[in-house]
């Protein structure tokens, strides 16, 4: 990444003039006249460009807002939820959504408040999503970096494994793995998901490493006596941060969706731990009580939608070939 040369000058007098596509004018042209006029040109790093592009991405901002609200409700579940997820209200069994007694999402067949259960379910889902995203990114990053940098048999084995994961009936394998290892605990389910999710990122990171290890600056670092670890993580890794962040964000959505499907089929998180998939499955036994199905499912849709918006915004923002700031 090339940092634009800082141009230290006096106080800003007027906003910097920009060319049509939003780029700061190149030095030598317009710049000189602004320098003479005593205008300041703030130097911006790539990250500040990315931040500005992200902040101006309307859908991404909308998604971020939605995520803050939904995940915030999950994090502070004990303050937000009017009831605990096991509390039974015998006066309101299978009550439709109502403000009476704060049963906003109605109650289930033994009188548990569904709004509270959904809020606690969000907490479970976000824990799974975030854990899987971090764990799988870390695995994908390390494995992809090693495979891309060293090549050879390490690379060969990695590519065969990713091929394997790609050509298998994914959900069936996950179900089988969950039936053996993951039943019940959300952390076990998360481990299984992370174990299947790292391959996508590993491929991307490998690709970047494969092309960048031939660059002059890597050669220069080698000539200067830098060790492999330093070159990999200090010199090449920063170039892969964009795809890693985007991939990690989208992995949150994919993990939440997959966890919900596993739990729905009865191979993921088990009651009493509230999970959105388990809640939807609970709705299946009472098809007449539509609220038992609609609200937890709608929550999943909203979370995934928001995460995908943020992911798309990040993808647009972190693409270094794109300097344009979206209006």
């Amino acid at each position: 990444m090339t940092e634009p040369t800082p141009v230290p000058l006096g106080k800003p007098v007027a906003p910097v003039e920009r060319t049509v596509d939003g780029m700061i004018p190149a030095p030598g042209g317009l710049m000189d006249s602004t320098v003479e006029a005593g205008l300041e040109v703030t130097a911006r790093s790539q990250w500040s460009y990315a931040r500005r592009r992200f902040l101006r991405h309307r859908l991404a901002m909308l998604g971020l807002l939605g995520l803050i609200i939904i995940f915030g409700a999950g994090i502070f579940a004990n303050y937000v939820a009017p009831y605990s997820y096991t509390e039974i209200d015998l006066n309101n069994i299978l009550a439709p959504p109502t403000t009476v007694g704060h049963h906003f999402f109605g109650t289930d067949e033994i009188g548990r408040d569904y709004f509270s259960r959904v809020i606690w379910g969000i907490r479970t889902s976000e824990e799974v999503g975030v854990f899987v995203a971090f764990a799988s990114s870390l695995m994908g990053l390390v494995i992809g970096a090693i495979a891309g940098y060293y090549g050879g048999w390490v690379d060969n084995i990695l590519m065969r494994i990713t091929d394997l994961v790609l050509t298998l009936p994914a959900l069936a394998i996950l179900l089988t793995a969950a039936a053996l290892l993951g039943q019940g605990s959300q952390w076990r389910v998360s481990f299984i998901l992370a174990f299947f999710f790292w391959t996508g990122l590993a491929r991307v990171v490998r690709g970047v490493f494969l092309s960048l290890r031939e660059k002059e600056y890597v050669e220069a670092a080698k000539a200067a006596g830098a060790r492999d670890i330093r070159i990999m993580f200090r010199h090449i890794l920063p170039n892969t941060l964009g795809p890693i962040i985007v991939n990690g964000t989208l992995a949150v959505a994919a993990a939440i969706l997959t966890e919900a499907a596993l739990s729905f089929l009865g191979f993921g998180i088990k009651p009493p731990t509230p999970s959105l998939g388990v809640l939807v499955a609970g709705g299946q036994t009472n098809p007449q009580q539509w609220w038992l199905t609609v609200f937890p499912g709608l929550t999943i849709v909203l979370i995934v939608l928001c995460v995908n918006f943020v992911g798309d915004g990040l993808r647009d923002a972190l693409d270094p070939t794109q300097r344009r700031i979206r209006a």
Partner: protein, 321 residues
């Protein structure tokens, strides 16, 4: 081309061996395969002992895997340990039903997805484009099982309220109706709808992106500069080239569709492979689960191979040698 097919075919054999061995190990460790028989008071202990000996359950997992592979080839996937019945008739019956649902859904999704993708690309940023963009975002975010349940709720409600049976919400068909009857159609309509809505989101997005890629290429500008009418440019120059990547997407989506079939068939209690798999997995029926994994893996690998061959045929820039 032939050497390419042969190479790909040979290459997928170790993939299959490794993947089946791993899942075999997984499932074998998952639980005691004769636990179900032990629970049955009518089966005496020495019968169970004989079953253990006959099925080599006292041997190590690699040995059992070898015996399983032999059974797959010589004995049509072998017998179930939980029911002691042959697995093949179940697989043959359920896979037909799943194929009917999945193929119908896939065709519907491709047809609609391609059509919508074309119009979205031609009229980029029009209200039509925005509506379907929003729709496909929703399709990406929608859990399959939730969509299936919503459809089920709606049609159960319609039936209970007005006593009109548009689509059935469970089962495969009523007695005395066959594979190609209106009755069957009424039964599989909702599973097909569920699967095709999810896949439609995917295809329409890919088709739109692929169309836009081609529309902005040089040879399309040339075609326009020659003065060809716009519909002809779109149909002859853009559409045909934009369709090529869809082949790969469709093949890769097959795995997702089979996963979706697991969920959808379970919701609609449809006698397909997915529902069979879930039931057998719950019962811990080792060899039935393995049969499902083997058959679906083979189908997915086969379709990926076909997609690669078709891709090479459609796109003359790609040569396999």
């Amino acid at each position: 081309m032939l050497t390419f097919i042969a190479r790909r075919f040979l290459y997928s054999i170790p993939v299959l061996i490794v993947s089946t061995f791993l899942s075999f190990t997984f499932v074998s460790l998952a639980g005691n395969p004769v636990a179900l028989l032990r629970n049955n008071p009518r089966i005496p202990a020495n019968t169970i002992h004989n079953i253990i000996i006959q099925n080599h359950l006292n041997r190590s997992i690699p040995v059992r895997y070898a015996f399983w592979v032999r059974d797959v080839f010589t004995h049509k996937l072998g017998n179930s340990l939980a029911t002691l019945q042959p697995i093949w008739p179940d697989i043959a019956r359920t896979s037909g039903h799943t194929a009917q649902v999945v193929v119908t859904a896939e065709l519907l999704a491709i047809l609609l997805g391609v059509a919508v993708g074309i119009f979205s690309a031609i009229r980029q940023y029009s209200p039509f484009d925005y509506i379907f963009t929003a729709f496909s975002f929703l399709g990406y975010a929608m859990p399959t099982f939730w969509l299936a349940l919503l459809l089920q709720i709606v049609f159960v409600d319609i039936y209970l309220k007005w006593n009109v049976r548009i689509f059935y919400t469970a089962g495969l068909n009523n007695p005395h109706h066959g594979t190609w009857s209106i009755d069957r159609l009424q039964h599989i309509a909702l599973p097909v709808m569920t699967l095709s809505i999810i896949s439609f989101a995917l295809y329409s997005r890919y088709m739109r992106a692929s169309m836009l890629d081609v529309i902005n290429s040089d040879y399309v500008r040339t075609a326009r500069a020659k003065g060809l009418p716009e519909w002809r440019v779109i149909m002859r120059h853009v559409f045909r080239n934009a369709l090529i990547p869809i082949v790969t997407v469709a093949a890769l989506n097959l795995g997702g569709l089979l996963g979706g079939a697991i969920v959808t068939e379970t919701v609609f209690t449809l006698d397909g492979m997915g529902y069979y798999f879930v039931q057998k997995l719950q019962a811990g029926d080792l060899y039935a689960v393995m049969a499902y994994l083997l058959v679906t893996s083979v189908v997915i690998i086969l379709f990926n191979l076909i997609a690669d061959v078709v891709y090479g045929y459609l796109d003359p820039r790609i040569r396999y040698d």
